[in-house]
Amino acid sequence: MIYTNFPYPLSTTHNQQRQRTTTMKALILVGGFGTRLRPLTLSLPKPLVPFANKPMVMHQVEALKEAGVDHVVLAVNYRAEIMEDEMRQHAERLGIQITISQEKEPLGTAGPLKLAESILRDGEPFFVLNSDVICNFPFTDLIAFHKNHGCEGTILVTKVEEPSKYGVVVSDQETGRIQRFVEKPQVFVGNRINAGLYIFNPEILDRIELRPTSIEQEIFPAMAAANNLYAMDLPGFWMDVGQPPDYLKGLVLYLSSVHATAPETLAAADNSDYEIVGPCLIHPSAKIGRGCKIGPHVVIGPNTTIGAGCRLQRCAIFEGVQVKAHAWLHSAIIGWRSTVGAWARLEGVTVLGEDVNVKDELYLNGARVLPHKSIKASVAEPAIIM
């Protein structure tokens, strides 16, 4: 059975010679349409949905490049020309190669590795990342840890408060060698879960067949049984931002982390016209009105207009959005080129798709609004507006 077209490269004119002695490859598991992040993913493929004013996938790609990766494979199971165009530009900008590996039908989380075997198998370890994950991406440390134990694979693990909701990784405290995986443990066995970021030696490809396969359920247990899988603690924050509530949680963690590591990159009020509270990112092209109070944890995208006297907290404003005067936003994602009316109040993880128009003085609580809608009445309880 043929599952795929052969991976096709997006940048063929890659002639920059890297100075590093070794170069590495990485595969990002993008998967399907990103339905969990609708209505945003109705307008753009999930990897291109902005997170902190940058396409989500570029946080990973840039961190990979920093760690010495020169070829990134995006494993997708749909064709999106807009993604190919945009990734080509990013590849050229970063001077790396980006290849899209398209599955004809979904291959799970392991199958895509086999599909891209011809790229990944070059004798060096390679990275595999779940595309929804946002963290500080300690890839250089991960390489060092992985080479130190010398076995087939290392997965990053992150500490969670409620391990009973996840699959817990039980590993040796000294060495990090994984003993077993326990799915949703009813008694406490540990508080580390799979963070969805891995590094493998090429031998892992021998364990995988070209068919739909789950790496977590079918490949990892066998590797752990063979004492060939290690866990490394992920320092700092971690969030799977695949759905709107977690997207906003991730934004809070990300901005707080930036505040601790590189506060100079965050927004600062350059005059007394408006006030910034806590860590925020404001694109230089955004226009902020008089008397606004912005933050904490707000990201404002390019070519946006925020009217006078707005109050924004814990929200993401995408490119081209207009928020009219005196609006109040808390826990909201405002999709590209949408308009929020004057004195509107949006809260409770309200997500506006692309080009949505919310009339003046309305109240939206937990509304998910599909693209190109005009909202003329308040939505007091969470609802999907078709």
Partner: protein
């Protein structure tokens, strides 16, 4: 001389205020003379001496108006910038031949002292408040104070309920009353109700040619007629005898209860040929709940638009944005960047900061609304503070303001699942809403500080 011309030459309320008593007596004499002449020649009789009685009820009523009635008797609640019954008084003052206005109720007299003084000054008519020792009922109070009411021998008594919001057609009722019959008869103003709402009122069936009432039933279980009692009556002095009959009968039985026109008098008058219906198809509604006060506010503001536009706020170059009908007390300070209206009344000594939005609401005396706050379909109680970016929002009452025959139904506060029905939001006196907080369909009792969001709640 036709009646219209005659009325237009009579003094306006403000002129009356400045005329002295003698002049007023003379003008009444002139009316009386003309009336006699006309009744003799054209069968169009005029009342010579009219007394107006406003039944204001007592503290037992107005519970639906809490938390506002905890501070202010409902008849005195400011609607469109003046106490509700002041709108009655203004309508009465436009009627020729009214010699005295009597407010009748169970509220302590001192509560009405200011109103009586203001009403006298503004209308130039004698105004007095008579306090019932107990709730005597709509007719019982009239009977108790019969000597005071009949003093000066009025030939017609105009009686109306205090909880109405209406473009009172008093002159028309009087003309109808004096011409439909002579002697001991009663006129009831009827309004149209929707068939599904009519059973909540007094249902009137009348002869379509003579307007004589054939049947009257108060709050039947099913709709008997869509013509319902509008709470405005014209009585001949003999009505006192009718009440006396009931009183004496009650006394005989050893009961001393309240006497109501609606239950004890009107059903008896129906079919006697002594009661007539005056059908009014203009705007009419009862004011019982806070929601209906917002509705009444809207109506009286629109009435200013046609009758007295000087009562309405005008947009100015350096003032706030004014949308539709808005009344702002001269002592209130409104930031020019605020947007106010339509259907808003802002009371004395209020401060409204920059970027504030107020719509379909009443803001009572001495409130402070901070920057960028938004108030929709709400009543903000006396001396309340609405902090920056907070939002107080209600839903409009169901009635269609463009259809005079859909009246506001006093629906239950809670639905069948025990949840609060969406209604307007009301802040009692001295409430503070913290920055950025939201109140939706919420009633807040006095002197609370709101530190989190509330929806469909009553905050004790």
């Amino acid at each position: 001389m036709d009646t219209t011309a005659f009325r237009s030459s009579s003094p306006t309320p403000s002129e009356r205020a400045s005329t002295d008593f003698v002049a007023r007596e003379m003008s009444e004499a002139a009316i009386a003379v003309t009336g006699v002449q006309r009744s003799a020649t054209q069968q169009d009789a005029h009342a010579k001496n009219v007394k107006a009685v406003i039944i204001v009820g007592g503290p037992k009523h107005g519970t639906q108006f809490r938390p506002l009635s905890l501070k202010c008797p409902m008849p005195l609640f400011p609607v469109a910038g003046m106490p509700l019954v002041m709108h009655h008084i203004n309508a009465i003052s436009k009627v020729d031949a009214v010699s005295e206005i009597i407010l009748l109720g169970k509220y302590p007299e001192n509560m009405f002292a200011d109103l009586v003084v203001d009403a006298k000054r503004q209308t130039g008519i004698a105004v007095r408040y008579l306090q019932e020792y107990t709730e005597l009922g709509t007719a019982g109070g009239l009977y108790h104070y019969r000597d005071l009411i009949l003093r000066g021998k009025p030939d017609v008594m105009l009686v109306m309920h205090g909880n109405l919001c209406c473009d009172f057609p008093l002159q028309d009722i009087l003309r109808f009353h004096t011409n439909v019959a002579s002697g001991k008869h009663t006129t009831i103003m009827a309004v149209k109700a929707r068939k599904d709402q009519a059973h909540q009122y007094g249902n009137i069936v009348a002869d379509s040619s003579t307007n004589a009432i054939m049947h009257y039933v108060e709050k039947p279980s099913t709709c008997v007629s869509c013509d319902v009692n509008g709470g405005v009556y014209a009585f001949s002095p003999d009505i006192i005898d009718q009440i006396k009959e009931v009183f004496v009968r009650q006394l005989d039985m050893g009961v001393e209860g309240a006497i109501h026109f609606e239950n004890d008098i009107f059903p008896k008058l129906a079919g006697s040929g002594q009661a007539f219906v005056f059908k009014f198809d203009g705007f009419w509604s009862q004011v019982k709940s806070a929601g209906s006060a917002v509705y009444a506010n809207r109506f009286y503001l629109s009435l200013y638009r046609s009758n007295d536009p000087t009562q309405l706020a005008q947009a100015t170059a350096d003032g706030p944005t004014i949308v539709g009908d808005v009344s702002i007390h001269p002592s209130a300070r409104i930031h020019p960047s605020a947007k106010i209206g339509p259907n808003v009344t802002i009371g004395p000594y209020c401060t409204v900061e920059e970027g504030v939005r107020i719509k379909d609401s009443i803001v009572l005396k001495n409130c402070h609304v901070e920057k960028n706050a938004c108030i929709l379909n709400s009543i903000i109680g006396w001396s309340s503070v609405v902090r920056a970016w907070s939002r107080v929002e209600g839903s409009p009452v169901g009635a269609d303001p463009n259809n005079p025959s859909t009246h506001i139904m006093q629906k239950a506060l809670f639905n069948q699942e025990g949840k609060l029905e969406p209604n307007i939001s009301v802040l009692g006196e001295g409430v503070t809403v913290d920055e950025g907080r939201m109140l939706l369909h919420t009633l807040v009792l006095p002197n609370k500080e709101i530190t989190r969001d509330h929806k469909n709640e009553i905050i004790l």
